[in-house]
Amino acid sequence: MDRLDQLEAQSIYIFREAFARLKKLALLWSLGKDSNVMIWLARKAFFGRVPFPALHVDTGKKFPEMYAFRDHYGKEWELDLRIEPCPPIDAVDPTLPPAARSAARKTEGLKMALAKYGFDGLIAGIRRDEEATRAKERVFSPRGLEGGWDVRDQPPEFWDHFNASPPPGAHLRIHPILHWTEADIWAYTQRENIPIIPLYLAKDGKRYRSLGDADITFPVESNASSIAEILVELAETKVPERSGRALDHETEDAFERLRVAGYL
């Protein structure tokens, strides 16, 4: 087995554990490269089907290309697509810096969706290599009643045994691609021929490495116009993946504050 086979098998194992042990699952589909790989892995795990809803918590501020992608592949992949809106910006903690405050709308939208459907497990496509606080995550990560994350009191998780019993009213985040890197995602996308949003490929010397809301996400300098070229670029760059995500850089602890409150 090569590295991608190993990663794939591990993710499939996690998907099947989640499906076996939780009652009401949903997959958070952000439309980005990571969550598309997740959907692909779910179809592998369940022999062509995604046997739970795909939830898109919509800020209403995504790029038009992202909406087009959602509408097309939601149908083609026969997803049980649930689109849930976010509350207006006024409903969000005003002490957060502007971009983080904007991103925090998604957290609120997520809470509303949780309350509406009563999911006990949300499958999310975060990766340990993306960002320092995510490196601390568990594969099965309990969230309090308010959706909050207590980094100091995480249950032990080892030997692929996961804590899957959230207390009543709380839910679990399940992270099937936590162990993947950005380069793994692209190499797998290339190998499996998984569709992507064209914004990831360079146009006029710039491309998006990470996609969020259109107003707080910026492209990076790049001439990589194919996945093969992206892989070459990643092998050489030392620029962080989320450098184009404004919310990560406002203050040293803004991202962690968002995550403690329930952001992905």
Binding site: A9, A20, F47, A132, L234, H249
Partner: protein
């Protein structure tokens, strides 16, 4: 914020064929772990551009001297506390290995995170401060690495600059830690003097350490072997689920070891049902691959409809895992509440979950002290050996036979509270009942002793067939009864007609026969009776097991009548049958009787009449405190 991007992807990841090793780094909280990690990232060129400069600037802004450890202490919470708070994984590459470094915090309260990290590791770096030397926590980490089966351990003696790069100091530490690790069965792959802060011995050999002829840290990492080849082991496919999304009935799971292919004859444990693999299914198209190996997530269909469920383990017919309701495990405990005998727990082994009770706690050890606490409980961060009685039968392996199906976790209140390695599988205990709530007798031992004038005991008569065991046992029974005592005769052959009717004469069945006799006898003895067992019981080991069961109530009486005399008596005609070949597996004419060497009493009935021999026994019982005064006098008369 993005302080660490040390996880620079190994590029291009997809085509990398370099061996990947997962290394946990452990050591006392102040021995320089974070500094070494920072230095390793720097020496292997794994830091993002400008990171070093940024951190320097941050340090100046905070009015602190630059520390390599700032690289890792990237969370605000960590800076506030001054310690690393969880397992962090960092990727980098050395000349010959792709490395995932698992940083396990050294602070004692966070030991469980260290265990979580170490549990996934192929190798470990154990860090020691040259100035402070081997500490309790160092020993504890060494012990836990041993416990978790991490066999490759490189010891790093850091801060050599603080001891003037003194070779003798290094040698003293080296000897001490070698002795400790060797005592645990772990031979260090290397012991390396370094100064992480100044860079000596990390990447390149240092002139200040020219007396050291071993590898550098990076050199030692390059020598770590990647994870062992699970595909070489027998097939183990724990069933995750059975899917019926369409007309196929797909059994899904991940192959933990071995391999499978279409047409294989399989056995589904613990039930032991047999089937054949009809197909191996996958999506988008059914795989053309003929063999599926350890690590693959697969779905198979079977050639017949039979009941199987999540938690079953599929193996090949001739090498299946064992089924049991009783396991012995060496565990580490992470929960606030100590684990006690009788505790109700949930056990997860592979994909199986079963309610269970802790039948016994055999050892409870503080890994820092390495002393066996007399305690009947295993406290948080301590380790121990326990017997687990399961509510349902499970399939399992001993962990040295199969690391994946030979380990388990224990849940309490829906939260993982401990983990451990399977060190024993009691196949005889398949039918052990669950929710055992022992009910104690309403009577006190003194009350019974006052009536019978003796204490409870197990008198175990062992010896060749025809030696006179039953004759003596019956005579003794009569004598004790006449003296007002309460003897009960348990004859091996008699019990084989009922209680032990399911057992044959294989070594395993004989052991089980003895075990049951001993259990029944010990129960009677604990209730004040004198259980008189007459059984050939040829195996030293089985008799030792019986003695363990009955404890200090046990009295072994060896009827040492010579084999020739026994054969000439032949009361049941067995010797004749065996000689003529009509009885196989008969103890007596071969050399398969293992004579005891430390019996409480030895009697040769070819020289002792029955009455004399019975007198010998009662005197022994009086001497060893079983018979109290009056009954002893009566019995002796």
């Amino acid at each position: 914020m993005n302080m660490i991007v040390a996880n620079r992807p190994v590029a291009p990841a997809a085509t990398s064929s370099r061996p990947l090793v997962r290394i946990v780094i452990v050591g006392h909280v102040d021995h320089g772990k974070s500094t070494l990690i920072g230095r390793l990232l720097h020496e292997t060129g794994s830091l993002p551009d400008g990171k070093f400069e940024t951190l320097k600037a941050v340090s100046e802004r905070r009015g602190m001297p630059f520390e390599w450890s700032f690289l890792l202490d990237s969370l605000q919470t960590e800076r506030d506390q001054g310690i690393t708070i969880d397992t962090t994984q960092i990727g980098f590459r050395t000349p010959h290995r792709d490395v995932v470094l698992i940083d396990a915090p050294g602070h004692a309260e966070f030991l469980r995170n260290m265990i979580t990290g170490a549990a996934q590791a192929d190798a470990a770096l154990l860090l020691i401060d040259a100035f402070e030397g081997v500490r309790d926590q160092t020993r504890r980490h060494g012990y836990l690495l041993h416990l978790l089966g991490v066999k490759q351990v490189a010891v790093i003696v850091n801060k050599m600059d603080r001891v003037g790069f003194d070779q003798e100091r290094f040698q003293a530490i080296s000897d001490e830690i070698s002795a400790h690790l060797t005592g645990l069965g772990v031979t260090p792959t290397a012991i390396i003097p370094i100064s992480a802060r100044e860079g000596d011995g990390v990447g390149a050999a240092s002139p200040r350490l020219e007396w050291h002829d071993g590898p550098t840290v990076i050199g030692a990492i390059d020598q770590f072997a990647p994870a062992r080849a699970l595909e070489q082991l027998p097939l183990r496919l724990p069933v995750q689920a059975i899917y019926k999304f369409d007309d196929r009935r797909i059994v899904a799971g991940r192959i933990e070891s071995g391999h499978l292919t279409n047409g294989d004859e399989i056995v589904i444990m613990p039930a032991g049902k047999i089937a054949k693999i009809r197909s191996v299914e996958s999506w988008p198209a059914t795989s053309l691959r003929q063999r599926h190996h350890a690590g693959h997530a697969v779905g198979i269909t079977l050639d017949r409809e039979l009941f199987l469920e999540r938690g079953d383990i599929i193996g090949h017919a001739n090498s299946a895992p064992r089924a049991t309701k009783r396991l012995r495990a060496r565990i580490f405990w992470l929960h606030d509440e100590p684990l006690t005998a009788g505790a109700a727990i949930l056990v997860r082994l592979g994909t199986k979950e079963s309610r269970a009770t802790v039948a016994a706690i055999d050892k409870a050890v503080d890994p820092g002290e390495l002393s066996n606490a007399a305690s009947a409980a295993i406290a948080r961060n301590h380790v121990g050996e326990i017997d687990i009685a399961l509510a349902q039968p499970v399939a399992a392996d001993i962990h040295t036979d199969n690391p994946h199906t030979g380990r388990l976790v224990i849940e309490v209140n829906g939260r993982i509270a401990g983990g451990g390695l399977v060190i024993g599988i009691d196949v005889a205990q398949r039918a052990a009942p669950i929710d055992i709530v022992p009910v104690e007798s309403a009577l006190q031992p003194e009350e019974r002793a006052a009536r019978y004038h003796h204490r409870g005991a197990v008198l175990w008569f062992t010896g060749l067939p025809g030696a006179g065991k039953s004759t003596l046992a019956r005579a003794l029974e009569r004598r004790l009864f006449q003296a007002g005592g309460s003897p009960v005769l348990l004859d091996g052959d008699t019990l084989r007609a009922g209680l032990n009717g399911d057992l044959g004469f294989s070594t395993k069945d004989r052991s089980e026969n003895i075990r049951r006799l001993a259990e029944v006898a010990a129960h009677l003895a604990r209730n004040g009776h004198i259980a008189i067992v007459a059984a050939v019981s040829p195996s030293t080991e089985d008799r030792a097991a019986a003695r363990r069961i009955a404890g200090d109530l046990f009295r072994e009486i060896y009827i040492a009548t010579p084999a020739k005399v026994c054969e000439s008596r032949d009361p049941k005609g067995h010797y004749a049958k065996a000689r003529s070949g009509h009885l196989t597996g008969f103890t007596g004419i071969g050399n398969d009787y293992q004579a005891p060497h430390a019996s409480e009493l030895t009697i040769d009935t070819s020289h002792r009449a029955v009455a004399e021999a019975t007198g010998d026994i009662t005197r022994m019982l009086a001497r060893t405190g079983v018979l109290l005064d009056t009954v002893a006098d009566l019995a002796a008369s």
